[in-house]
């Protein structure tokens, strides 16, 4: 049963469960990364046999196979994927930003260019965690950013294949090339390249402990998106909320993972009790009841506060990945939210809307990192370059100042480089 607390009873840092990192896989991963650097494709085939029990002849999935995957799905499902993709595209297009150019006196021009990353790698987990929505959410922002090539990797099943719905999502989202390889070895292949797999500039997408550790190890050589912790939701609700809806929302978080945290904060002690009972009523009916049960009993919490201002205080302190504001005027509360990944506003906005369909991204900062990190966006797939143009006249006006500054820092060659232009030619 979900536990009920009063405000202040649970310290902020204990409100959400934190992963205990589990077994240290860093040595095993270091070994895998080194072997892929050394043996390339042969290492990928060896690991597919060892970890995925799959005999992989062709690492690359052909264009024909991608098209066949789309054709193999029910047309209604294809339409659903296409509609979700269209909504995600529409939202992310607003994130596109231009550079700028500033003209100053004496012909000086300063500016900033925004340039897409050249090649991006997308990791897609296999098995039950193979979510077509993740393919859409990770690929579409890169596509909108204008990346030249988007490469996807995903572990093969025992039969050696990737699930058709994943391949179809890749085709619809605009992935350019798909490879049958997963785990730490796939991350290593994306970072260093093999005979078949081209090396990329950034690796995005969720994965298990091996994938996360491999991303950590190749970080610096390539960029990575983030290392995600267990998923979290904070639901803020007033007494007028429908307890059935709140219970359903909390359970949708809880079914993800035993480590997931579903927390309700309300100013109504009455609502707290009814939601508690409602969760017990709904939970046993779920196919993933065992997972939801562990999450709710171990990590689930209902916190009763005097007022909703306190609830927002809690949100700002713990920086939840997902935040629902189930109140009549959610925009008034939103203006007070400083730390949260994605916010769902009003009584008709379950978090599940954001997982697939509304358009905003579902790859979000967890474990309190929304204090300083952002949802995945077009920004993740571009970089900026500054530029500076000075004329001779403009340089002459400031070269004395530059020289003075440089000498203050003990850097005489810097001073001379500025002054050399104004000396006799």
């Amino acid at each position: 049963m979900i536990s009920i607390y009063s405000y202040g009873q649970v310290p902020a840092e204990k409100i959400f469960a934190r992963s205990d990192d589990g077994a240290d896989v860093s040595v095993a991963v270091r070994d895998i990364v080194a072997n892929v650097q050394k043996d390339g494709d042969a290492a990928l085939r060896r690991y597919a046999l060892q970890f995925d029990k799959a005999q992989v002849e062709q690492l690359e999935v052909s264009k024909e196979e991608l098209d066949a995957a789309v054709a193999s799905l029910e047309p209604a499902l294809v339409e659903l994927l296409q509609e979700a993709a269209a909504r995600i595209r529409a939202f992310h297009r607003h994130q596109v930003r231009e550079g700028f150019v500033v003209s100053e006196e004496e012909g000086v021009v300063l500016g900033q260019k925004v340039i897409p990353l050249d090649r991006v790698g997308l990791y897609v987990p296999g098995g039950t965690a193979a979510y077509p929505s993740s393919v859409l959410m990770n690929c579409i922002p890169a596509k909108i950013a204008g990346c030249r090539e988007i490469v996807m990797v995903s572990p093969p099943s025992r039969g050696g294949d990737i699930a058709p719905v994943i391949l179809a999502a890749a085709r619809i989202a605009g992935v350019d090339r798909v490879f049958r390889t997963g785990g730490a070895q796939a991350v290593a292949a994306l970072a260093y390249g093999t005979e078949t797999i081209p090396k990329v500039d950034k690796i995005v997408g969720p994965g298990n402990a091996y994938v996360a550790e491999a991303k950590r190890q190749v970080f610096g050589k390539v960029a990575i998106d983030m290392i995600a912790g267990p998923s979290e939701i904070l639901v803020v609700a007033d007494g007028a909320s429908n307890p059935r809806h709140l219970a359903a929302d909390l359970l949708s978080q809880a079914e993800h993972d035993k480590m997931a945290s579903a927390v309700l904060v309300t100013d109504s002690a009455e609502l707290a009790r009814v939601v508690q009972a409602e969760i017990e009523r709904q939970l046993p009916q779920l196919p993933r009841a065992a997972i939801a049960r562990a999450s709710i009993d171990n990590n689930g919490k209902i916190i009763v506060t005097d007022d909703l201002a306190k609830a927002i205080e809690i949100a700002n302190e713990i920086a939840p990945e997902h935040l629902e504001l189930c109140v009549d005027d959610p925009f008034a509360l939103l203006s007070q939210v400083r730390n949260a990944g994605s916010v769902f506003l009003g009584r008709s906005c379950p978090e599940a809307l954001g997982d697939y369909f509304a358009g905003p991204n579902h790859t979000l900062p967890t474990s309190g990192t929304a204090r300083f990190m952002s949802p995945l966006s077009v920004d993740d797939f571009v970089k900026r370059t500054q530029f500076t143009y000075y004329t001779k006249e403009a340089l002459e006006k400031v070269s004395g100042s530059i020289a003075r500054f440089a000498r203050q820092e003990g850097l005489e060659a810097h001073a001379r480089s500025a002054l050399s232009r104004s000396e006799e030619e």
Copy 2:
């Protein structure tokens, strides 16, 4: 003497020197971080005595001391700092971005908020690497972003103090609080907080191997800017360039650090020879000749290509931190540049301009990371939050689709949370 090569003779990955990471300080740093977490201020005072040979009573520098530092400088130097700050501010203001709000059918509202980080920590090295320009370059973007508090740490000298020019730069840039502590212990204090030092959301600024390793270790708990490698410049110049200027520019890079890399790419074999000689003429006159000599002899290179298109190819392949385009029409070449931190255009634009005065930031991606990273900017001091508002009518139109998508992913509780709103009330 700087070496001359022809195009293709040096593999791209060998064009710039790479740091060999040096001694592994991770165990020592882990110990320091743990002790600061345990003993707080007392640990900071202990390490000040041990590493800085400084007896530190007051960890915080008072407002009066900051004002006194400004008053102690020559007025001309204060004006110089103020002018540099004004130029940096003017450039970085163009980086400020707004969120967006989109209205859709059925009353749906989607959007993105841009929110400043709450508190930011700025590390400033001591000794000869204490650069007032770094204080300006790191603080001003955070100030423009609207961060509530900017906290600076810097190691005390033996007398227990921080150099007046550094304190003055902090005052001028708008740093809110300054503390006398440096090294890995200062990074730990910023990440975890002590009795005196508040914990921050992000740590920026350069430092030695201990500081870099501490930033690596606290990354995740807080955000960090980047781990900088040795500084680099690629100068692209045609045969009409003035060899004195080019030699001076290359030497201004070389004087930073023995590991710094200064590389010229030109389509003129004649220019290559003259610049080679000119470096030999200018180098011995420099106060930091020993450092410049090591950098030039070990890492310096002149590469002669058939044409400048090849030079831009090299730039895009190695993604230099600094790139000078010393040609008549540098904007034509700029349009082909895909990977570079900061680009200096034309014959009157030495890189030293960018270190202090032009306005663009001097904290730049090194070691090839300009392929996927950007100069420090206002973006580094904000995060984004998404929001989604659905009405009952809007949700009803899509809840069937959401449920279908969720069931496809095996997440029944997600489906039910979307459907619960449309069922009988």
